[in-house]
């Protein structure tokens, strides 16, 4: 088991269980944003990254994947 690239916790998948759930959650919510506002994945990341109430783990994942130049 290697470390989560975001927080250093152990991981089974790409991230630790917290950041993996955050990532899965983000993907699921993107379909809702797409229907509601027609946002692409990049615009969606940009949008929720700016909203005050976006969760901490979600922000950390956004920061990571933005630095990685997108997934």
């Amino acid at each position: 088991m290697t470390e989560c690239p975001i927080c250093g916790r152990g991981r089974q998948e790409k991230f630790c269980s917290y950041h993996q759930t955050a990532f899965d959650n983000m993907k699921e919510m993107h379909t809702k944003w797409e229907t509601a506002a027609g946002l692409s994945w990049e615009d969606y990341l940009d949008k929720i990254g700016q909203l005050e109430d976006t969760g901490r783990w979600i922000r950390e994942v956004i920061e990571f994947i933005t630095q990685q130049d997108g997934l």
Partner: protein, 703 residues
């Protein structure tokens, strides 16, 4: 001999029972007792200071499992409790010539246990021969009545209290040691990480909420905002659908309504009556005091306890929301009418039928919290005054008439769209008049509008909004949840709520989980979820209730608990290495986040850390290379409040920024604040404030 719980209570009881209302206080060193005479009885009134005896481990070694204990004087367990020794010695000495012992402690589980243990271990008498005074307020009438109608001790209640202490001791000692020793084994550090029977589930609730917040993705929705003109006045209208799910649907509504004329379809009025809120139980008082006064539950309990000892209110540790018929309402209201703030209200209530509204919850030992009508013997502090005002006003309001309000609504149609505007008018304040500052509602007049009127829609917009994450707990909401889940007791819950924060598991008033809290939660959740389970604790609460109802007994419950605890500890031991490693990783993250302040500007390769001087106890920032004699860089820190490192540097001097939270004040500064060129004005203002404060203090001392 009357055994009371506190010096203030002893004085009150001695005064109330003495025929001439002048008991004699006999001083013995730093402690004292009272002598008084009632009829043919000569009474000695002694006091405890809460619990005089505590549980102590009987087996040797700071390890686990440790399942055997005994009751010993508190000073043997807590070295700081030196004031207990002379009190126990005095009670022991005075007990030698006593014919009859009476327990006159607070009538609840803890009070009964304090009395019982004092009789057993200090008075060295058989509690079966002792009597019990039962009272709900420290007023002369009630104390006199309690003395003249004494009963035997409530042994099931005492047994249940004893088991509660034993179970809390077993879980607290063993689980805390297991966690602490796992860290010691993994990293060699001795860092106490505590948990307990109720603290574990409380932490779990906070952590689960934090998870939801951390994983929250806001979703968009659109709200239709409509402004209209009617009779040359502007109206704000609401759209019948609060939330429109998509931007295109929102835009379609805007297009369809813009510039249109709508017709008032219906104007309706709905009259609603609202009964008074029930009398206060401890938890509803704590919740209302937090809402209106900002007092956390433990503070409300401490203030209410002080008001009780001052004879101003009834016993506050009650679950009841009911006032018994036997309570002399007239006497209480007459008493309150002699206090100038309450004269008018008390007289108004006295004119009506004295039938209070009652709540659902009951408590076999005490009625709902109410004023006694007696003037507080001691001057109240400003905080006590505010809480007393809340209690008195709630008491008046339970006798009040219902509040009557009219909800007004005008429904407006435009093609197939529905709009409306609303108003609220209070017809009769009723009980809310008494509740005064603690009743909050906003009246809103409905515009002069009639069915069939035309309304021109001047501005229609679809505003993008976003869903909100669940709210973090505050002290009152966490306490309420513990009560709803039947975890802990009315007396212990506020302490548990405080402990979650004081142990460093949460930050700030809003119970934001700290890295340490996470480390503990995620480790236990992964390896030993039973230690976070509310099910086990709830089951224990039920067993303790069953003891009170004589459905089971102490030995049976304790045997069961020891067996299940042992199983938990055996499982823990098997996983000790992994648990220790994970806790150590979590602690490292915690320290990095709370104590590290970046690299040292002087030596370059050291790390700046918040450290505490072992000599003075003062905190400051020091370099990690100091221990090797390489770097002596230090920065002073504010000594009060909590400090959190921030991930930014000062725009004036490039040093690391920190956030300081002290009381209700929070501010950001840099670690170089005493030398920073951008903060000299702040420093000057601070010096002036300090000079002013010391001048004021000197003036107070002089006067």
């Amino acid at each position: 001999m009357l055994v009371t719980e506190k010096p203030t209570a002893a004085r009150k009881i001695a005064f109330a029972l003495d025929d001439s209302r002048s008991p004699q206080e006999i001083k013995k060193g730093k402690t004292s007792y009272f002598e008084c005479k009632r009829g043919n009885d000569e009474l000695v009134v002694v006091y405890a200071l809460g619990h005089l005896f505590e549980l102590q481990q009987t087996e040797k070694g700071w390890t686990y499992p440790r399942l055997e204990n005994k009751w010993v004087p508190k000073y043997e367990v807590d070295k700081k409790a030196t004031n207990i020794k002379p009190i126990i010695a005095l009670i022991k000495r005075l007990s030698k010539n006593i014919d009859k012992f009476v327990v006159a402690t607070d009538y609840d589980i803890e009070g009964s246990l304090i009395g019982y243990l004092t009789l057993l271990y200090a008075c060295k008498t058989d509690p079966n021969n002792a009597a019990r005074m039962r009272f709900s307020s420290l007023t002369e009438n009630e104390l006199g009545h309690a003395f003249d109608n004494m009963d035997t001790l409530d042994f099931p209640l005492i047994e249940s209290g004893q088991v509660r202490h034993e179970v809390d001791w077993l879980y607290g000692i063993n689980m805390t040691r297991a966690l602490t020793l796992s860290i010691k084994k993994a990293a060699g550090w001795f860092k106490i990480v505590s948990t307990g029977r109720v603290q574990g589930p409380a932490l779990s609730y906070v952590a689960q909420r934090e998870n939801e917040i951390n994983l929250f993705v806001p979703l968009p929705y659109w709200m239709i905002q409509v402004l209209a003109h009617h009779n040359n006045k502007e109206l704000e209208l609401e759209y019948f659908k609060k939330r429109i799910a998509t931007m295109s649907d929102g835009e379609a509504v805007v297009e369809s309504l813009s510039g249109q004329t709508a017709i008032v379809d219906k104007v309706s009025r709905r009259t609603v009556t609202q009964q008074p809120h029930p009398p206060f139980s401890l938890s509803s008082l704590q919740s209302e005091a937090y809402r209106h006064l900002g007092y956390k539950p433990s503070r409300t309990l401490a203030l209410a306890q002080s008001l009780y000892l001052n004879s101003a209110i009834s016993y506050p540790r009650t679950s009841s929301e009911q006032l018994p018929d036997t309570l002399d309402y007239k006497a209480i209201l007459t008493g309150l009418s002699s206090m100038k703030n309450y004269t008018t209200m008390a007289k108004t209530v006295l004119k009506g039928p004295l039938k209070p509204i009652q709540g659902k919850k009951t408590d076999p030992a005490h009625p709902a919290i109410h004023p006694t009508g007696e003037k507080p013997a001691k001057r109240l502090t400003p905080s006590e005054k505010k809480l007393y005002d809340l209690i008195v006003r709630r008491f008046f309001s339970v006798f009040g008439e219902p509040l009557v309000k009219d909800h007004l609504r005008a429904d407006i149609v435009c093609e197939n769209h529905k709009l409306y505007t609303r108003g609220l008018q209070i017809q009769k304040l009723g009980w809310a008049e008494f509740y005064g500052p603690f009743f909050k509602t906003k009246e809103k007049a409905l515009p002069d509008i009639n069915e069939g009127d035309s309304v021109h829609l001047t501005s229609v917009d679809a505003e993008e909004k976003h869903t909100l994450p669940p709210a973090r707990f505050n002290p009152a909401s966490l306490l309420k949840l513990l009560e709803r889940e039947n975890l802990g007791t009315k007396s212990t819950r506020s302490r548990i709520v405080d402990s979650v924060r004081s142990r460093g598991y949460t930050i700030g008033d809003k119970f934001e989980l700290s890295t340490l809290g996470y480390a503990l939660y995620e480790t236990l959740d992964h390896y030993m979820s039973v230690m976070l389970s509310s099910e086990m604790t709830r089951q224990l609460e039920k067993e303790m209730e069953d003891i009170q109802q004589r459905k089971t007994d102490r030995d049976t419950v304790l045997a069961k608990i020891k067996t299940s605890l042992l199983a938990i500890l055996v499982e823990f031991k098997e996983k000790e290495d992994r648990i220790g490693e994970d806790l150590v990783k979590g602690l490292q993250r915690y320290w990095k986040e709370t104590e590290e302040l970046g690299s040292c500007p002087k030596c370059g390769d050291g790390i700046l850390r918040i450290v505490q001087s072992p000599k003075t106890g003062k905190r400051f920032v020091g370099c990690s290379n100091y221990k090797d004699g390489v770097c002596d860089q230090t920065f002073p820190l504010p000594q009060k409040g909590t400090i959190t490192p921030l991930e930014k540097v000062c725009p004036h001097c490039d040093h690391q920024m920190i956030k300081v939270i002290s009381g209700r004040r929070a501010w950001e500064t840099c670690i170089n604040w005493t030398q920073c060129p951008g903060r000299q004005e702040d420093l000057k203002a601070l010096d002036e404030r300090r000079a002013k404060q010391s001048k004021k203090k000197a003036g107070e001392k002089k006067s």
